[in-house]
């Protein structure tokens, strides 16, 4: 008799836990990347500084910055638009082939279209790594999913 008393509440608890687990699994499976606006940057620096860190010790800089959000503030060297309308902004020194290349999030494209070349901007993005100058085209630090930050 005592066993029967507990069966129903235990069953209900099991169903609730199972439903919660399924809901969590569904949400986790369909989770999108967080907007960069909501992510805190691990560092803020200028293009020359981040390029120098990678050039001096690529392994250490990759361990420190790759996969993390960075804010880079600097002069816009160029704004490129690909055939799908996605923008990439290069920040850095005009005299150098090296730059920080910022691939913009699609939500930021309208801002990029408004003629930014030679402007000074702050951009937050996820650092995907460092393309060393192995091909004779300059070294680049590459950022993805970039958004504009208020200028610093």
């Amino acid at each position: 008799m005592k066993k029967k008393k507990y069966v129903k509440p235990v069953l209900i608890a099991v169903v609730i836990i199972a439903a919660a687990t399924c809901l969590y699994a569904y949400k986790e499976f369909n989770r999108k990347n967080k907007s960069l606006h909501d992510l805190k940057a691990v560092a803020a620096m200028q293009p020359a500084e981040i390029l120098s860190q990678f050039a001096n010790n690529e392994k250490a800089a990759t361990a420190r910055f790759a996969g993390k959000a960075l804010v880079i503030s600097g002069k816009v060297k160029s704004v490129d638009k690909d055939d799908r309308g996605f923008y990439t902004i290069a920040l850095g020194d005009d005299q150098s082939m090296s730059s920080v290349r910022c691939s913009l999030d699609s939500t930021e494209s309208l801002l990029a279209a408004s003629g930014l070349t030679a402007s000074y901007v702050s951009i937050k993005g996820i650092c995907t790594g460092y393309a060393a100058d192995e091909l004779g085209v300059g070294a680049d630090v590459i950022l993805n999913r970039c958004v504009f930050e208020p200028a610093k």
Partner: protein, 188 residues
């Protein structure tokens, strides 16, 4: 007369230098599409990387590209995390690169607008492993602009990338790779 000669020689030098500069074409915004979707699976396992660095020597046909593995963008965050942490281990192997050449480069006239079918052969390094790859592609020359597209398949096991049996119904044992680079002259 002397000034005319000097001017002529200078003009020739400038033209030769400009022509030499056109021998190399490059981009830093090349695109690579990666697709490991199992046929008839309702779930797409695909990603795109829009920051490929590619250099093409139009004289020799030599072609190289470098791609950051963390730069592959997936629709779902969990898929991207699994790709980086479990499959390609991008923290250990942050880049992939290809070094090769267009086999039939002599057939491509980089100054004449046309679409040229090409074959590319070379070595792909991915996940710390280097393998020979061959790809069919095309070079499109239009209004002085060169676009290079190539497609090939890779087997994950060739690059020691393990796909667990648990997800074998969703993640293919091979991936279709499509490279698409719109190139500009490299000014040296």
């Amino acid at each position: 007369m002397t000034m005319k000669k000097v001017f002529f020689v200078l003009a020739v030098c400038v033209t030769v230098t400009a022509a030499y500069g056109q021998d190399k074409q490059f981009t830093k915004t090349g695109k690579i599409n990666f697709d490991a979707t199992v046929p008839k699976s309702p779930e797409n396992i695909d990603a795109v990387n829009k920051s490929v660095v590619c250099v093409l020597d139009t004289k020799t046909g030599a072609m190289q590209f470098v791609v950051m593995m963390k730069g592959f963008e997936f629709d779902r965050a969990l898929m991207m995390e699994h790709f980086n942490e479990n499959y390609v281990e991008s923290s250990k192997f942050p880049k992939a690169d290809f070094k090769g050449a267009i086999v039939n480069n002599a057939a491509v006239k980089y100054t004449a607008d046309a679409v040229y079918p090409v074959k590319v052969k070379g070595k792909l390094t991915l996940h710390g492993e280097t393998r020979d790859v061959e790809a069919e592609g095309k070079i499109t020359v239009k209004a002085g602009k060169v676009n290079a597209v190539a497609e090939f398949e890779i087997l994950f096991k060739d690059f020691k990338i393990e796909i667990p049996e648990l997800v074998a119904d969703k993640v293919s044992q091979k991936a279709k790779i499509k490279v698409d680079c719109s190139l500009d002259p490299l000014k040296q």
